[in-house]
């Protein structure tokens, strides 16, 4: 656990006209860690996520990723720097095939050029790299068989996997997952937990927002708890489970 921090969030605040959605939250994620971010509805988890991914500019505070300040950077740039994310509400491209959906992640990583499209010899190496990254991600998620289906036709669980596959085609160093288990049945959740764990074991750093408490407790190395925009706990799963403040605020009768 002595690895260098890959992400440092310092006194981050995001206010929406007087509502303190995120209020001076500081935490860090070390390379190779799988960190859970939990809290009751409205605690500011997704807002915090959006600030890290560049979708929202924070009101105050700083976000440092691998030694570089990325506070308020544009989301596409953040993605290319190696922070990929998935969404609570899916953001796949429904009328595009599974293959092409994943391919967009790889395109984001390798870039596109109009010249390369008009003069194929200019873009060939890049196209090969994109195809390689796409096939790799599809294979890992068992989506190869359905690569030519339009993504909109997939069952919900596979759409979720597809979104993670697309994020991985970016070859991220840090993966932000926003409620990946929401809407999945228990079998799918177990499979997803195993998959996330496997990603972490391969060295990927993961920050996971999730409501499914047993899953978070099972897979995470460390858990950060937010309540009403403030951090109220930051510890390993067992300590978080026993923390009286957390029980009062969140786990309540569940614990």
């Amino acid at each position: 656990m002595s690895a260098a921090p890959i992400l440092q969030v310092t006194r981050l605040a995001k206010h929406f006209q007087g509502l303190r959605a995120v209020d001076e939250v500081s935490f860090e994620v070390r390379a190779g860690e799988l960190v859970g971010l939990i809290g009751p509805n409205g605690a500011g988890k997704t807002t915090l996520f959006n600030c890290i991914a560049g979708a929202l500019a924070p009101t105050a505070g700083e976000i440092v990723y691998r030694g570089r300040t990325i506070t308020g950077a544009d989301p596409a740039k953040v993605a290319r720097m190696g922070i990929a994310r998935t969404y609570q509400n899916l953001r796949i491209f429904p009328d595009v095939t599974v293959y092409d959906n994943v391919s967009t992640g790889a395109i984001g990583r390798f870039g596109v050029s109009l010249a390369g499209a008009i003069f194929p010899w200019l873009g060939r190496r890049r196209d090969e790299a994109i195809a390689g990254a796409t096939l790799g991600a599809l294979e890992r998620f068992g989506l190869l068989d359905i690569a030519d289906e339009p993504a909109g036709n997939l069952p919900y669980g596979q759409k979720k996997l597809l979104e993670i596959a697309r994020a991985l085609a970016l070859d991220p160093k840090l993966l932000l997952l926003d409620e990946p288990a929401a809407g999945l049945n228990s079998n799918e959740t177990v499979a997803l937990a195993r998959l996330i764990r496997a990603l972490r074991d391969q060295g990927l750093t993961v920050l996971l927002v999730e409501h499914d408490m047993p899953m978070v407790m099972r897979v995470c190395d460390r858990i950060v708890v937010l309540e009403s925009g403030c951090k109220i706990a930051d510890a390993d799963p067992a300590s978080v489970r026993d923390d009286p403040a957390v029980r009062a605020a969140y786990l309540g009768d569940e614990g």
């Binding site: 953001r91 967009t104 050029s113």
Partner: protein, 284 residues
């Protein structure tokens, strides 16, 4: 056929940005004027003017995007990218840009019809097994079909095409896949405007007459074709545009020529009443 090429560029931009580019007709006009300037002022041979037209179209498209659209995409959250305010603002800004370009050309050329030197006009008569068409009209047909096919290949076989489809499908999702939206939007404007400029070029080669207002009626027809075709469907817009063109020429046989202008709008009304989603529109 030319309506089809103009309509396709117009629809491509609409599909990606959900914004109407009313300056698109001026791209068509600029394509025509590039030919005129190249032929009369610079005395260039035709083959060397063609790349100039493509370049002029690309630059105009880029300029329209910078001046008329980029400014209104400051905010990156979903609500503002899709908001009515942005759509209405870009509608007006593109309309304004179109007026500016049109009036500048008007000022220089005094609004008169300019004619292309005879040697540049494609007006030889071709005999296609009993049907006579001018070589210019044949060129219009061939160039249109080639460009429509080329665009489909670009959209469905290349990585930038995929990026364009991704941005048009879900802009936020594309952004988080690391796609540089501004670059994709520029590409869309460049592609759409090259189509428009080339259309203006082949029409002026075929008919030899160029005027600063020529783009205006064409862009309105393109708009009508887009609506009839189903707003976001490129093949739909192309088919609708051909339909309008055919209907206009058929109507020209029966009606006085001043009335043929009405045909497109009558078609539009019929479609809005009976098929409000257009030919290939998705239900919404």
């Amino acid at each position: 056929m030319t309506y089809a090429v103009v309509a396709i560029g117009f629809t491509l931009i609409y599909r990606v940005l959900t914004a109407v580019n009313f300056a698109h007709g001026e791209v068509y006009t600029i394509g025509a004027f590039t030919i005129l300037i190249g032929a009369t002022t610079l005395n260039l041979p035709l083959w060397s003017i063609v790349p100039l037209v493509v370049l002029a179209g690309a630059l105009t498209g880029y300029g329209i995007e910078l001046a008329g659209f980029r400014l209104f995409r400051r905010f990156t959250d979903e609500a503002s990218l899709k908001s009515r305010a942005v759509r209405e603002a870009t509608l007006l800004s593109s309309l304004a840009l179109g007026i500016v370009i049109r009036e500048i050309l008007d000022l220089i050329y005094k609004g008169d019809w300019q004619s292309l030197p005879e040697t540049y006009q494609l007006s030889t008569s071709l005999d296609l097994g009993g049907i006579y068409i001018s070589s210019g009209e044949a060129v219009i047909a061939v160039v249109s079909i080639v460009m429509l096919i080329a665009l489909q290949l670009l959209l469905h076989r290349t990585s930038i095409g995929l990026a364009i489809r991704a941005v048009s499908s879900n802009m936020i999702g594309a952004q988080f896949s690391g796609i540089n939206i501004n670059r994709v939007v520029i590409a869309v404007f460049v592609i759409g405007s090259v189509l428009g400029a080339v259309a203006g070029m082949v029409v002026s080669l075929a008919y030899g007459a160029i005027q600063s207002y020529m783009g205006l009626t064409v862009v309105i027809k393109a708009f009508v074709a887009m609506v009839i075709g189903g707003l976001t469907s490129l093949p739909g817009a192309a088919i609708a545009a051909v339909m309008i063109g055919v209907a206009e020429s058929v109507a020209g046989i029966f009606l006085p020529s001043a009335w043929t202008e009405m045909v497109a709008y009558m078609l539009l009304i019929v479609f809005l009443i009976f098929l409000p989603n257009g030919l290939f529109g998705r239900r919404r």
